[in-house]
């Protein structure tokens, strides 16, 4: 079962929610929709599910046009951000309801519900009502209902947002395992880049209703196709530094010139925007060709054993993600080091023109 969205556009009351999205999801793939709030993740999912017909474009399932097919006649399931269960039914009946409606034999229903409940660790709660359960258990019930039928497409609309972080990690791992054995398309919406990285699979980056990039998650992380993708896909966000490239050197303030490495030398001279990940910046030189920049400290946020250092250069702000605790005073002048071979280069329109080579790095998730 494959799902193909062809040039989908959706407007509600004249406001474009989705514009010109073309997305082909492979059978058996795990797909993450990554985007901020109002990026159109939920709308896109509702279109995939068939809860609303798109204003424009076609939706193909296995090559068949299902654009106008109502949700009842599509084989999909969905889990919402809120915990949605039928309060008047027990957990067992909640999970069993899609099977009952599909007129499955009773023994089969019993077996399947038992399996799913065990997988989600709610087998001891089957006689209870959803409102008697904790948030995590309610959401597991909702997931159980979504997973119990053999849906072709399973949609998760930020299902873990309303849970505490420990539970979130736990459920996320379980979810990932659940899908390894299934041959269905899973779509998972999230606002958190770290969640996308943890889930793996493919990622589609949405921004203001437009699809920015789609591909394997780690590839998107390593090779963003523009500033927006790069910004969306890192936490803390990637530093974007305006600069100028001449034949042999690179400068950020027209005063200090650094020598280019071979890769940058291939680019035509001109004004560019350079992207550098917060975790790639350091307070001590890591390599001989690191660029040294004088900055002043704005604030150093210490979270556990990491430090997020906000600093200010004469022309741009910088964020550094440092390991260990670095207590620095406000307005203290320091020097930070750029690894020149880890620079992303974007043109003035924000398109990528140079991607650093795949790095073998320890702290990639920055």
């Amino acid at each position: 079962m494959s799902l193909h969205l062809q040039n989908i556009a959706h407007t509600v009351g004249g406001v474009p929610y989705i514009s010109d999205v073309d997305l082909a999801l492979e059978p058996g793939s795990f797909n993450v929709l990554l985007g901020r709030t109002l990026a159109g993740k939920t709308t896109l999912m509702r279109l995939m599910a068939g809860l609303e017909p798109p204003t424009q474009g076609r939706i193909l399932m296995d090559g068949k046009d299902v654009t106008g097919v109502p949700v009842r006649h599509r084989n999909v399931s969905m889990v919402y951000q809120q915990f949605i269960n039928y309060p008047s039914l027990t957990v067992y009946d909640n999970i069993a309801s899609p099977l009952k409606l599909a007129k499955q034999p009773k023994s089969e229903i019993n077996k399947r519900v038992g399996e799913i409940a065990e997988m989600l660790h709610i087998e001891h709660l089957l006689d209870r009502y959803p409102l008697e359960l904790s948030g995590g258990q309610q959401q597991r019930t909702a997931m159980g209902r979504a997973l119990v039928k053999d849906a072709d497409v399973i949609l998760f609309d930020e299902p873990l947002v309303n849970l505490d972080y420990k539970l979130r990690e736990e459920l996320r791992d379980e979810l990932r395992d659940l899908f390894k054995v299934r041959n269905c398309i899973a779509v998972y919406a999230t606002t958190e880049p770290n969640e996308a990285l943890a889930l793996g699979g493919n990622t589609a980056i949405l921004h203001e209703g437009k699809l920015l990039q789609y591909g394997p998650t780690d590839q998107i992380y390593r090779q963003p196709n523009g500033i927006l993708s790069a910004e969306m896909f890192s936490e803390p966000p990637i530093n974007i530094v305006p600069g100028r490239l001449t034949d042999n050197d690179i400068t950020f303030d027209n005063d200090t010139h650094f020598t280019c490495d071979d890769a940058l030398r291939k680019l035509p001279p001109g004004d560019y925007q350079f992207g550098v990940r917060a975790s790639h910046l350091s307070l001590t030189p890591q390599a001989a060709d690191d660029l040294e920049l004088p900055v002043t400290v704005d604030v150093a946020e210490i979270s556990g054993s990491e430090t997020f250092l906000h600093a200010r250069h004469a022309h741009f702000p910088l964020v550094l993600h440092l390991l260990g605790i670095h207590e620095l005073k406000v307005n203290q002048p320091i020097k930070v080091y750029f690894p020149i071979h880890k620079l992303f280069v974007f043109d003035q329109q924000g398109h990528i023109v140079h991607t650093p080579l795949a790095q073998t790095e320890g702290a990639a998730h920055g």
Partner: protein, 298 residues
């Protein structure tokens, strides 16, 4: 702060620091306040219940005792008034008629109002807000305005003096009311539940009956209570649209006033029996009634 910690040791300490009254004085004052509020409530309750008590009192007395002297309780306890009502078909048929049209009205109204309220709560269509408000304005018009047209209409189509005539006439104010209350309850159910049900494969009717109605159970209960209440006490339309076959109890009660004087005892007994169904219904919805008065919006 002081009253929150009142009974703890710390509270006593704070109280002595921050106020000049000693704990003993404070306790005494609190007791006094409590007593005063109880007294006030007691007086209020007494005033409220007095007419009802008097009605009950009268219903258990003979006419001569009622007219003869003012007695606080029946000196010659008699159930003759009640027995009279329950043995005379022209009396008890009044109750049967009233209950019949009230139940009919409740059934019609809830059947019409449930889908209407669902539409108002879930869909937006042209003029939905205006239509919704227009429904409320139906409650503002006095029923007397509609009296003549109803009478004329029902008479000409042969509905006059039937239970259904009164039941339909009462829909005039009961349907808008029911839609208003139910819409509030329905809107508090997240729309995602509907969608989840469709995703699971429910058809609309099945979802509505199996999932949705159980979710707004208390709302329906409260609505039925209000429908009962308004239809039960309405007399003007009920009286005018009936003659003999479907006469409401309120109308029959006027028969107690005859040329030979008023039959106070029977009148009082009939009054008591008229209050009883209301009390019964209130008892069943007592926990949800405040939400109902807020039209389901809490």
């Amino acid at each position: 702060m002081s009253y929150q910690l009142e009974n703890t040791q710390q509270g006593e300490k704070y109280n002595t620091i921050f106020s000049r009254t000693t704990p003993a004085q404070r306790r005494k004052r609190n007791a006094r306040t409590k007593l005063r509020s109880r007294l006030l409530l007691g007086v209020y309750l007494l005033l409220m219940i007095l007419p009802i008590y008097w009605l009950l009192n009268m219903s258990l007395q003979t006419n001569s005792e009622i007219l003869g002297s003012m007695t606080m309780w029946p000196e010659n306890l008699t159930f003759d008034n009640y027995i009279g009502i329950f043995t005379d078909s022209s009396w008890y048929m009044g109750y049967v008629n009233s209950i019949a049209y009230v139940l009919m009205n409740m059934l019609i109204t809830i059947c019409v109002a449930l889908p209407a309220a669902y539409a108002f709560s879930r869909y937006s269509f042209i003029g939905d807000k205006h239509l919704f408000f227009w429904l409320l304005t139906n409650l503002m018009a006095p029923p007397a305005v509609f009296l003549l047209p109803y009478f004329q209409l029902y008479y000409s189509v042969g509905l006059f003096d039937t239970h259904i005539a009164v039941a339909l006439a009462h829909c005039l104010f009961n349907i808008p009311l029911a839609i208003w209350i139910l819409e509030g309850f329905m809107s508090s159910v997240p729309k995602e539940i509907d969608e989840t049900a469709y995703i699971d494969g429910y058809s609309f009717p099945r979802f509505f009956i199996k999932i949705f109605i159980p979710m707004i159970r208390s709302g329906i209960g409260v609505t039925l209570f209000f429908l009962f209440m308004f239809s039960w006490v309405e007399l003007l339309l009920a009286r005018t649209l009936t003659a003999t076959e479907a006469q409401p109890i309120g109308m029959i009660m006027t028969r107690t006033s005859t040329a030979s004087g008023i039959d106070w005892g029977t009148l009082a007994a009939a009054g008591v029996l008229t209050i009883l169904p209301g009390i019964l219904v209130v008892y069943f919805v007592r926990n949800h009634i405040a939400k109902g008065f807020a039209l389901g919006r809490t």
